[in-house]
């Protein structure tokens, strides 16, 4: 077994475990947040501070009776939760969470992500279609229309950073505010694009105020009305993971990825200092670099030498991962805050909003970005690469194609 393959398998396992835990605790955090917004306590019975609530929920969901509607199209009915779930999980396989911390470093990650997120919509549409029931049917109709209309705006907003950095790899796009890509004029398009992306992501993942596919006051539970037990649980799982994934994409695209910058001066051409590797800097500062700076990893006697490097975590990797998770947490909490605040839109208003406002604005932004890139090219595009500790992308796009 080659080291690469083993790395992918082990990392895949770790990612899956982390994601499942993240989903379980996201539901818990969301419930506690909503409780906080509405003067309640929230789940606090199971375990200390209710921390075992997700476990109890999981056990309950698994032990529930499975019910399949008699008239349902059995194959599609069984398949659709898997599609929804797998597509959302797959999205995370493409997103690096820290320097060197990723499952796969795909040079065309953005494209693949858009594809996967569209694939996830099939799960929801088929679920409603195959249930042979009215509420799921209406829910899937709504999903269909909503996902198609907001995918366009979503893709357009993603184009803005892609045009600026000229790359489809998240590792490059994360550098957008720093290094050769930086030009203060880009903020003119990046800020609105970021806001637009958040709105479109809300719609894409079916969160309030765009939770029409499953709005409980109207169509009970939308596309998953007829699902029960674990098959039901896969839909919310997919939804939460998608929310996490879109937060991660937003961090990469509009919040500087896993890098951390601090403002240095009012010099607009290069106002940021990169302190992405803050753990390493901290260790150096304390004077422990000799003892702590080498990468951490599993015990050497457990993992043979050629595999060890790919499974270890350097200080840079650790600090970038923590930075990334913190940025992501802010966005996820924002999604939850929005849920506690806003009422739900109506179906036709949602469509109007998507097609008549978001899409034109997205198009204008893409056009503006193209103009900006031509007339105000990235600051250092001609200069030599002298940006200090800028993390180099591990796989260059050209390299991949050259090696085949």
């Amino acid at each position: 077994m080659s080291p690469e393959l083993l790395t992918i398998i082990v990392r895949g396992g770790i990612f899956t475990l982390c994601l499942l835990t993240a989903f379980a605790y996201l539901t818990f955090i969301e419930r506690r947040m909503l409780a906080f917004f509405t003067w309640r306590v929230g789940p606090n019975r199971v375990g200390p501070w209710g921390l075992f609530q997700p476990v109890a929920d999981g056990v309950k969901t698994i032990l529930k009776q499975e019910m399949v509607p008699m008239k349902a199209d059995k194959v599609l009915y069984m398949m659709s939760p898997v599609i929804a779930f797998a597509a959302c999980f797959g999205m995370f396989g493409l997103i690096p969470v820290g320097e060197g911390v990723w499952m796969s470093n795909v040079p065309v990650a953005v494209l693949l992500l858009l594809g996967l997120s569209s694939l996830g919509a099939y799960g929801l549409i088929l679920a409603g279609w195959s249930s042979q029931s009215r509420y799921p049917f209406l829910g899937s109709l709504r999903t269909c229309a909503q996902v198609i209309s907001y995918e366009l705006a979503l893709g357009l907003t993603l184009l803005v950073p892609v045009i600026i950095t000229g790359s489809l790899s998240f590792n490059d796009i994360g550098n957008i505010y720093w290094g050769p890509h930086w030009n203060p004029l880009y903020l003119l398009v990046l800020l609105p694009a970021g806001l637009l992306f958040l709105v479109a992501a809300c719609a894409e993942t079916g969160r309030v105020p765009f939770d029409l596919p499953e709005c409980e006051a109207e169509i009970v539970a939308g596309y998953h009305t007829e699902y029960s037990s674990m098959k039901y649980a896969m839909f919310p799982m997919g939804e939460y993971i998608a929310m996490t994934a879109f937060s991660a994409i937003a961090v990469h695209m509009f919040l500087g990825g896993y890098h951390l910058y601090i403002p240095s001066s009012i010099d607009l051409t290069q106002p940021w200092i990169n302190i992405s590797n803050w753990v390493g800097l901290l260790v150096d500062k304390i004077g422990l670099s000799g003892a702590l700076a080498p990468p951490w990893g599993p015990p050497k006697w457990l993992v043979p030498e050629p595999y060890w490097a790919s499974l270890s975590l350097s200080p840079a990797g650790l600090s970038t991962t923590l930075t990334f998770l913190a940025k992501m947490a802010i966005l996820i909490l924002t999604f939850m805050w929005v849920r506690a605040t806003l009422p739900r839109m109506r179906y036709d208003q949602l469509m109007r909003f998507g097609w008549k406002l978001m899409l034109p604005v997205g198009l204008v932004l893409v056009f503006l970005t193209s103009v900006l890139v031509v007339f105000a090219p990235p600051a250092g595009s001609e200069a030599e690469d002298d940006y200090g500790s800028r993390p180099q992308p591990v796989v260059e796009v050209e390299d991949v194609y050259a090696s085949r």
Binding site: R134, A217, L342
Partner: protein
């Protein structure tokens, strides 16, 4: 061209010959608090017809009333419209007073008005929380419940029951409220005024809510009058009717208040009218408090008035030790007779005109009771209001009508 036809989508020629579907909503549905079944014939999401099937909550209250004594009748009536149960007590008490020719003291009249307005506030608060839920906002319902809690505690202080307290009794009110009641009510009012403003702003400053309710479910004035709409629903459609002003009962003749009217009769107007009503209610409560604190208005209850029904007499006894002594100890007074006859009384309830027709044969209880509740009429407005709107609008319209199924089914 009427206003409603501007907005509504007419059925177009359909070359694909698509079928309409019938979506059956209820009796168990997340957004229907009480059970009613709506068969919605829809072309996709567009509603073509709504058929209301009711009776899931029929408890036979009118029949039960005619088999119970007067006290049992009062308890049953307060459970028809349970969010403002004092209306039922008031209806029966004033019917008995009409039958036996009792004159209620002035102080009791003011206390009755006070309690009825508190009931209206409590009911409208509940409605506004429910409205939030229908449009997918989860927070307002908790605001509503939070504001309602002190109100219910105040009602509990009066009668020992949060919802169905038999505070209004034939001949007045059961007893003078404790001093702490006045203090707490006075402290609650300014707080509530501020919060009502912020809650209304939450909705009316929110583009999503305004878009969802503006020109949705338009009830035209003529249609409202023809179909027996009353209360805030009729007033939102610019029908200038309010029993408190048109046929004053209790102390409403001496209170000054405005009757808020809507302009278009859409869901947004019904929402606005109810919020304005809540403000007016608070003004009225304040006026009642001033009147009660000021001049000598007589006793809170007609001395010597008691009923021959021991259970009602027992029911009006306050909690021992906390309340001021009752002005007349139940059971000690000579029982009054409720003569045979007929009485018709009506009251402006939180949802509209509640009326009660009672036939007494001189016995222990009523021989026949008939109740007129607004929810029945409003429930059957749904078909007209929802036609041509989307499925999502139905629930906004339903919430804006503030229908209480238990009162429609009885």
């Amino acid at each position: 061209m009427t206003l409603s036809s501007i907005r509504r989508v007419e059925k177009r020629y359909d070359p694909l010959l698509t079928e309409t579907i019938v979506v059956s909503v209820g009796p168990q549905h997340p957004s229907l608090v009480s059970p009613v079944q709506l068969h919605i014939q829809a072309d996709g999401e567009l509603i073509e017809r709504v058929t209301v099937e009711q009776g899931f909550m029929h408890r036979g209250i009118e029949m039960l009333c005619s088999q119970r004594d007067w006290a049992g009748c009062a308890a049953l009536l307060s459970r028809t419209e349970w969010l403002a149960g004092m209306n039922g007590h008031f209806l029966l008490s004033s019917a008995i007073e009409e039958l036996s020719g009792l004159e209620v003291p002035q102080r009791a009249q003011f206390l009755r008005s006070l309690v009825l307005e508190l009931g209206r506030l409590s009911s409208h608060l509940y409605w506004f929380g429910d409205l939030g839920l229908e449009v997918g906002a989860v927070t307002p319902v908790f605001w509503a419940m939070r504001e309602r809690e002190p109100l219910l505690e105040l009602l509990d202080m009066l009668s020992g029951h949060r919802w169905h307290g038999a505070y209004i009794v034939p001949g007045g009110v059961s007893h003078e409220p404790p001093a702490a009641f006045y203090q707490r009510l006075r402290a609650w009012l300014p707080l509530m005024r501020r919060r009502i403003n912020s809650y209304e702003e939450y909705f009316s400053d929110n583009a999503i809510w305004v878009n969802r309710s503006e020109l949705i479910g338009v009830l035209e004035t003529d249609y409202a009058i023809k179909n027996g709409a009353s209360g805030p629903v009729a007033r939102a459609s610019a029908v200038d009717c309010d029993l408190r002003r048109d046929a004053p009962y209790a102390a409403y003749g001496e209170l000054s208040f405005k009757v808020p009217l809507g302009e278009y009769g859409d869901a947004l107007d019904r929402f606005r009218v109810r919020f304005m009503e809540m403000r007016e209610s608070m003004n009225m409560v304040e006026q009642c408090l001033d009147a009660l604190a000021g001049a000598e208005l007589g006793s809170a209850r007609l001395v010597g008035a008691s009923l021959d029904s021991p259970s009602l007499a027992a029911g009006i006894q306050g909690k021992a030790g906390q309340d001021p002594p009752l002005q007349n100890q139940a059971g000690q007074d000579p029982p009054i007779q409720i003569p045979a006859g007929e009485a018709f009384v009506s009251v402006e309830g939180p949802r509209g005109e509640l009326a009660l027709s009672v036939v007494s044969d001189g016995g222990h209880g009523p021989a026949r009771v008939h109740l007129r509740g607004p929810s029945m009429y409003h429930l059957h407005l749904l078909d007209e209001l929802c036609r041509g709107y989307l499925l999502a609008d139905l629930f906004v319209i339903y919430a804006s009508l503030d229908i209480m199924v238990g009162e429609a089914d009885r």
